[in-house]
C-alpha cells in the first residue's frame, strides 16, 4: 500500500519512514546528477575558503530539501518535461556525505550506496528512496512543473526545480541505517 507523504519532510516523517515503505511523494524536489554534484562541491569548497554563506552560492538551499538524481530527455512542445526516471545514485556517493552534513533530508535515485553514505544518513537523519529505473515516461506524468535554475550549460545535467505530485517511490534505506538491498 502506498502512503501519501508531503515534501518538505517533517522530523516525524523521517523517523517514521521505514525501509521497504512504498510512498507517493508530493512537493518540490531538485534534480542534480554527476556534473551538477561536482560543481556544487566545488562551489562549497570555494565558498568555505572565502568565508561566504554557502546557501547564497548554491543553486538551492540544501537544508531540508530533496535531491532527485535525474537528467530528463527534452520536453516536446506542450510537455512539462520529457522522460524523467532515476539515474544510478552510487555515482554521487563521493559528494553525498557533505550534502547530508548540510541538512539534505532525502535522495531519490536507484541502486546501492556506499557505507559512508548510509552512515552519514543515520548520523544526519535522512532517507534514501528509489523510483523504478527505466520508467521515465510514466514518472514524467507525476511532474507538474520544471524550471532550470542553474548550470544550464550542462544540458540534461542542469539543476531543475520540479514540483511532483504522487510520485511513486520505495524507501530503500531509512534513518536507522536499515537498507532493503542488504536483505535481498
Amino acid at each position: 500500500m502506498f502512503k501519501e507523504i508531503k515534501i518538505p519532510f517533517s522530523k516525524e516523517d523521517i523517523a517514521n519512514l521505514k525501509a521497504g515503505d512504498t510512498i507517493y511523494l508530493t512537493g518540490t524536489v531538485y534534480t542534480a546528477r554527476d556534473a551538477a554534484h561536482k560543481r556544487m562541491s566545488e562551489l562549497i569548497e570555494d565558498g568555505k575558503k572565502r568565508g561566504l554563506d554557502i546557501d547564497d552560492i548554491l543553486p538551492f538551499p540544501v537544508k531540508g530539501n530533496v535531491i532527485y538524481y535525474m537528467g530528463p530527455s527534452p520536453a516536446k512542445p506542450g510537455q512539462v518535461i520529457g522522460s524523467a526516471g532515476p539515474t544510478t545514485s552510487g555515482r554521487m556517493d563521493k559528494y553525498t556525505p557533505q550534502l547530508l552534513g548540510m541538512g539534505l533530508t532525502a535522495m531519490i535515485g536507484k541502486g546501492k550506496r556506499t557505507k559512508e553514505v548510509y552512515d552519514s544518513m543515520k548520523k544526519n537523519g535522512a532517507v534514501y528512496m528509489a523510483a523504478v529505473g527505466g520508467a521515465g515516461a510514466l514518472l514524467s506524468k507525476c511532474i507538474k512543473s520544471s524550471d532550470i535554475i542553474a548550470f544550464e550549460d550542462l544540458g540534461p545535467e542542469a539543476v531543475r526545480k520540479l514540483y511532483v505530485e504522487r510520485f511513486p517511490v520505495i524507501v530503500v534505506a531509512d534513518a536507522t541505517g536499515r537498507c532493503i538491498y542488504d536483505e535481498i
Binding site: K76, G133, I184
Partner: protein, 290 residues
C-alpha cells in the same frame, strides 16, 4: 556492384533512433508481460506493472521509454557488392544520429572527451561497427545503450582450466553485482572466446538478437548451427540468475533476467575470454535491411 546513396543511410538511422527509443521489439515486451504473470513478490509485481504502464505511455504519447536514450550503437553489415556514393559513410551515420536525437526529443548524453566531459549537444559520435558480408544489401542495426547497465558490464580473461564452470560464475556474479543499479529484469549478452575486443563485441551484439528462443525463422536457422551446449547454457544461466532472488528493480522477486544470449568464437590455446554485457529491461534495438 550496387550504388547506394549515403543519404539513405542517414534517413534510416534517423528514423531508427527515434523508433528504438519509443517502442521495444515485441519479444522483449512479451517477456516483460510474462514476467508480470509469473512474479511471486508483491513489490516485484508492482515494479513490473509500472514498467508495463510505462511502455504503454511511451508508445501512445511518444515519450522516450527511458530518459537515458543512450549512446547510439550502430552495426552495419555491408554487402561487398555495395558501393556507397554521395559522401562519407561514417559522417552519414552520425548525421542520422544527430537528426534522430534532435527531432525525436531524445536526450543528448555524449561528452566530447572522457576527462574534459563537455556535452557534444547532439549525441554524436555514435559507436559504429562495420562488417563486410556477401551480397548487395546493407543490414543496419541501431541499439541505443543506456549506461546504468553499461557501467555494470564486465570482461574476464579466464584460464582454459576454468572451463564452463568459470564461465557460469563470471556471468552469475556479474548479474549479482549489477543488482539494482542496472535496472533488472535484465537482458544479458555474453561473448565467449575470440580475444579481448572480439569477446566484448560479441556480448554487445548478442543483446540485439531476439530473446524469444528459436521463434523467428532466422533465429531457428541460426540455432541449428549453434552448439547445443550454448542453448543449454543460456537456459541454465537464466534459471540460476533468477534463483538469486534479486528480482525486478533489485527489490526482490523471481524475475531478475528476461533472457541470456550467448555468442561464441574460436579462441587461443591459452585463453578463455568471457564478456558480460548487461542491459536493463529497456533492451532497445531496431534492424532494417536496405
Amino acid at each position: 556492384m550496387r550504388d547506394l546513396e549515403v543519404s539513405l543511410i542517414t534517413k534510416n538511422i534517423r528514423e531508427m533512433c527515434i523508433e528504438a527509443n519509443l517502442f521495444l521489439e515485441e519479444d522483449v515486451e512479451k517477456a516483460i508481460r510474462t514476467a508480470g504473470y509469473t512474479e511471486t513478490s508483491e513489490t516485484g509485481r508492482s515494479v513490473l506493472s509500472q514498467i508495463e504502464d510505462n511502455l504503454k505511455i511511451a508508445g501512445d504519447e511518444r515519450i522516450p521509454i527511458c530518459q537515458d536514450t543512450g549512446m547510439a550503437v550502430v552495426f552495419l553489415e555491408i554487402g561487398q557488392e555495395v558501393h556507397f556514393t554521395g559522401g562519407d559513410i561514417t559522417d552519414a551515420v552520425n548525421e542520422g544520429v544527430r537528426q534522430g536525437y534532435e527531432e525525436g526529443y531524445l536526450r543528448k548524453s555524449v561528452v566530447n572527451d572522457p576527462i574534459e566531459r563537455i556535452n557534444t549537444g547532439d549525441n554524436t559520435p555514435a559507436v559504429i561497427h562495420f562488417e563486410i558480408v556477401p551480397g548487395d544489401k546493407v543490414k543496419l542495426t541501431v541499439a541505443p545503450k543506456g549506461f546504468g547497465s553499461e557501467n555494470m558490464s564486465r570482461i574476464f580473461m579466464l584460464k582454459p582450466a576454468d572451463g564452463i564452470e568459470g564461465v557460469k560464475n563470471a556471468v552469475i556474479n556479474t548479474a549479482k553485482e549489477a543488482g539494482p543499479n542496472a535496472c533488472p529484469p535484465f537482458v544479458i549478452g555474453v561473448g565467449i572466446g575470440g580475444d579481448f575486443e572480439k569477446c566484448a563485441l560479441m556480448s554487445k551484439k548478442a543483446l540485439t538478437r531476439s530473446i524469444q528462443k528459436d521463434k523467428s525463422p532466422a533465429d531457428a536457422a541460426e540455432s541449428k548451427e549453434r552448439n547445443l551446449y550454448i542453448k543449454e547454457l543460456e537456459e541454465e544461466l537464466l534459471l540460476k540468475i533468477n534463483d538469486t532472488g534479486l528480482g525486478p528493480a533489485g527489490l526482490g522477486g523471481r524475475n531478475t533476467v528476461l533472457a541470456v544470449n550467448i555468442e561464441t568464437f574460436p579462441t587461443h590455446i591459452a585463453g578463455l575470454p568471457v564478456a558480460v554485457n548487461i542491459c536493463c529491461h529497456v533492451n532497445r534495438h531496431k534492424t532494417r535491411i536496405i
